[in-house]
């Protein structure tokens, strides 16, 4: 059953390695300008994540909240059979909120809640070959970050935040009987059991928490040009949870003269049943793991072309190279521990945004971003069939009253098609496609 244990967690690193699914849409205003905010964050408190120094000079009290709704579509086409399976994702909601308070003209403090690592990937179980790597994966990592921004002088702002992280991991997959060992050294596949014979459903639920620091600075070069950046430190989080296994009936019976030498008509389900009882390799039990949420940062500039028109550009990177080793530790001694080496790559993104204040009430935004993927070509799985992406955004703010601003934004993600795997150990045997429509809506209040 060692093989099973490997497969159960094979996809976890990839889940977290996603630059694209590592949600960057933590604010509707910023989403409209493709996330370009390092030098000039939106004046609604979202600087807490995008550029903590941007809090400095934010007068009064601000409260903003909103949500991004992600409608993702994708598919996997198997190249031998040409069978196409479509992603079965629900509409995913990613909320965020920020509150700030100007202690003095130079010092502003605030607190924000955002989810920089969030994902749900869901494939249909029936007929999808990749269900043995994962058919439903969820990860929620919420950062709650108190932050302070300080105006050092008339050209320098600095900011720092201390984020409490609470993270939840949920993974579901089927287990393929053909990959299991029938007798030591001989798999069921070698005895003729067909690839894709479901005999167990496995799930893992685990939670963990930790702390990270988000800091940055903004330099005002002149009245038109500002340069800024921020850095969110890495954090290794220890997850504790439970692994649960449920037997799936194969309803198979051994034919006469089978290579196991068992009587004709012997139910296969009875053969594997001992694996599920207490002490068996597939019995329920606690599981522990640690995952490093990698550091990320951005640097960029904002150039005010006209009094009402600003152009922004950011470079962002996530250092996925830190994500080197993952050890899965089962309390059940019958289930061997597993160590994974995901070989992820650092990711890089370019974000271009512009903002045009049409009137005192209406501001419009647009943007474009491109980013690379973290997953190496030998680790593109159903959990996150990731690749480089081109994304286009648009948005608008409308001042409903002197204190209330309504925000809307739209983002289209087009991911490059990518070859990937669905069968453990079989290599890349098909092509994943992915695109998504994101809708943002939020409200910013000023007091």
């Amino acid at each position: 059953m060692r093989r099973f244990a490997f497969m159960l967690f094979a996809g976890v690193p990839s889940v977290l390695a996603a630059q694209g699914f590592a949600v960057s849409e933590h604010n509707t205003c910023t989403m409209g300008r493709a996330g370009a905010a390092a030098a000039s964050p939106c004046a609604d408190g979202s600087a807490i994540y995008f550029s903590p120094a941007g809090l400095a000079g934010l007068a009064g009290k601000h409260l903003s909240f909103g949500s991004t709704f992600i409608a993702a579509s994708g598919s996997f086409t198997e190249e031998f059979t040409l069978q196409q399976t479509k992603l079965d994702n629900p509409l995913i909601t990613v909320p965020a909120g920020y509150a700030t308070y100007a202690v003095s003209p130079k010092l502003t403090v605030g607190i924000g809640a955002y989810a920089p690592y969030g994902l749900e990937t869901k494939w249909p179980v029936a007929g999808f070959a990749g269900r043995f790597l994962g058919y439903n994966t969820k990860i929620h990592s919420i950062y709650i970050q108190p932050t302070a921004g300080y105006q050092v002088n008339n050209w320098l702002k600095v900011g720092v935040g201390w984020a409490y992280i609470t993270s939840k991991l949920e993974l579901h997959q089927r287990v393929d009987l053909s990959t299991q060992q029938a007798i030591p050294g001989v798999s069921f596949a070698q005895l003729g059991i067909q690839t894709g014979t479901d005999f167990a459903d496995a799930s893992l639920n685990a939670t963990g928490n930790g702390f990270a620091v988000n800091f940055g600075a903004i330099i005002k070069v002149n009245d038109r040009l500002s340069i800024g950046g921020h850095w969110l430190t890495r954090k290794t989080i220890k997850y504790d949870g439970d692994a649960a296994f449920k037997q799936i009936a194969t309803n198979l019976t051994l034919p006469p003269n089978n290579p196991l030498g068992l009587p004709a008509g012997t139910p296969v389900d009875a053969l594997v049943l001992p694996q599920f009882v207490s002490g068996g390799a597939l019995s329920n039990g606690p599981v522990h793991t640690t995952i490093t949420l990698p550091p990320q940062g951005s640097i960029g500039f904002a150039y005010r072309i006209q009094d009402n028109w600003t152009l922004m550009a950011d470079y962002q990177t996530i250092i996925w190279g830190w994500f080197a080793t993952v050890k899965i530790d089962f309390d059940n001694p019958a289930t061997p521990d597993v160590t994974l080496v995901p070989h992820n790559k650092d990711t890089h993104a370019v974000r271009l945004g512009t903002e045009y204040r049409h009137s005192d009430k209406l501001t419009v935004r647009a943007g474009y971003l491109y980013h690379t993927s973290a997953s190496p070509s030998d680790f593109v799985t159903p959990l996150l069939p990731e690749n480089d992406r081109n994304e286009f955004t648009g948005g608008a703010s409308y001042r409903i009253s002197p204190r209330i601003v309504g925000e809307v934004a739209y983002q289209y993600i087009k991911q490059n098609d990518r070859r990937g795997e669905v069968l453990p150990g079989a290599g890349n045997t098909g092509v994943y496609t992915f695109h998504a429509h994101l809708f943002g809506a939020g409200v910013a209040l000023t007091f």
Binding site: E79, Q194, V350, Y370, N390, R419, T429
Partner: protein
């Protein structure tokens, strides 16, 4: 100023978009332009040992890939998953039928009749099996693994897991099917080691028809757009059998067998042939290889021991049994042909293919090992170029012949343009 800035901004954005030009991965199909005909999107071959690729009394991942079904799939440029058996095989094919040596891996103990390797672990695990054929399968085995008269064996498990041929076929949901079942419904009788030609081991035609229709009904519930039903081979034409009269004539000196020298072209003194083998009776007695040519080889190797062939023995196919076998094959093929017509499938008669071969292509007597001079043909081609070392199953040459014949039949029936194998 503003207009210039817009232009510069647009140009910059354009450059960035160009730099970020998409790199799209594409499917890497085994046949990038295939299948040649949509009818071959998913091809399934049902059958028995011939279709499975059994040769020289054994099977492994080499012989399996020589099957006509694999060749046909290649010509149709359609993915085709075969349940490959690791070498040396299960059981390993003969390398010398007289010495009864079998394919053996270097450094391993010599393979025997009971040697059985496991299913090979393929780089891409087969999502299903296209070649569902199982050696020893009779028509009944197409639909069930259990019960009286079924022949499920270790290869049934290795190839299909716990499924039957029809269950696996339906799992694939084929668009095209070939069915070559029925040979074993008469071959078992013909090759019985205790009573060759035993009529009680022949599946009666009514039962055969019922079981055959059950297989076809299963195919009818799939997406199959076309298929070929292959007639039962006339098992009495295979070089595994030699006529009793041939023995008589060679012994009498009016005929000879192949050999490297004159002594090898005759029978030795310690190999006797009874008068019952004389024509015309002997013309209708078929002597199986183990009771005939193999005994001759034994006699040559053991000159002090007298052995021979008695054409009245039940170990040989007697004239009445021969008639029964031939009538059965003809009856089976009428059923198959009628079903093909009724269901819109093509029908292919393999017997016409082999009887049309040039004279001498199928030897009337095996090449027997010589003790007086080297005779490599007795080891490499004891049954000629068209039949493997067991005298029953076709060689790669024959499989190619069958595949090309099938291609012709398919193209004629369905208007496809599958290319012949050069």
């Amino acid at each position: 100023m503003t207009r210039t800035t817009i232009r510069i901004g647009a140009a910059a954005l354009g450059i960035l978009l160009a730099v970020a030009a998409c790199h799209q991965d594409e499917l890497f199909r085994p046949y990038p332009n295939g299948p040649l005909d949509p009818m071959f999107t998913r091809y399934v071959s049902m059958g028995n040992s011939i279709t499975a690729g059994w040769q020289s009394d054994g099977i492994n991942d080499s012989t399996q890939l020589q099957s006509y079904a694999v060749l046909l799939a290649r010509q149709a440029q359609t993915p085709f998953f075969v349940p490959l058996m690791a070498r040396p095989g299960c059981r390993p094919p003969y390398t010398n039928i007289y010495a009864r040596t079998r394919v053996t891996l270097p450094g391993q103990p010599a393979s025997t009749d009971t040697t059985c390797a496991l299913r090979a672990l393929q780089a891409v695990p087969p999502p299903y099996i296209n070649n569902t054929a199982v050696p020893s399968a009779e028509v009944l085995d197409g639909t069930t693994n259990f019960g009286t008269g079924t022949n499920a064996n270790v290869l049934t498990s290795f190839f299909l897991g716990t499924l039957t041929q029809t269950q696996m076929m339906m799992k694939v949901d084929p668009t095209f099917v070939t069915v070559w079942l029925g040979n074993n419904d008469v071959l078992g009788a013909a090759t019985s080691s205790t009573n060759a030609g035993d009529s009680t081991r022949i599946t009666d035609t009514l039962t055969f028809a019922s079981e055959y229709r059950a297989v076809l009904d299963s195919i009818g519930r799939t997406s199959a757009q076309g298929g070929v039903l292959i007639g039962v081979a006339n098992v009495t034409l295979i070089p595994y059998f030699s006529k009793g009269s041939k023995f008589y004539k060679v012994k009498a000196g009016t005929d000879s067998i192949a050999g490297p020298d004159s002594a090898s072209r005759r029978f030795p003194a310690n190999f006797l042939v009874t008068p019952s083998c004389a024509p015309p009776h002997g013309d209708s007695v078929l002597v199986p290889f183990p009771s005939g040519a193999a005994v001759l080889a034994f006699a040559r190797a053991n000159p002090s021991i007298t052995v021979g062939v008695n054409c009245d023995s039940i170990v040989h196919i007697q004239p009445s049994e021969l008639v029964k076998l031939q009538l059965t094959v003809a009856a089976y093929n009428r059923v198959i042909s009628a079903e093909a017509s009724a269901r819109g499938y093509a029908y292919f008669d393999p017997n016409a293919l082999f009887t049309a071969l040039p004279a001498g292509s199928i030897p009337t007597f095996p090449n027997v090992i010589s003790t007086t001079a080297p005779f490599p043909a007795a080891v490499t081609t004891p049954f000629g170029a068209f039949f493997s070392l067991d005298g029953v199953h076709p060689t790669a040459v024959s499989h190619k012949l069958v595949a090309n014949a099938l291609i012709g039949v398919i193209n004629a029936q369905y208007g496809s343009h599958l290319p012949a194998i050069p």
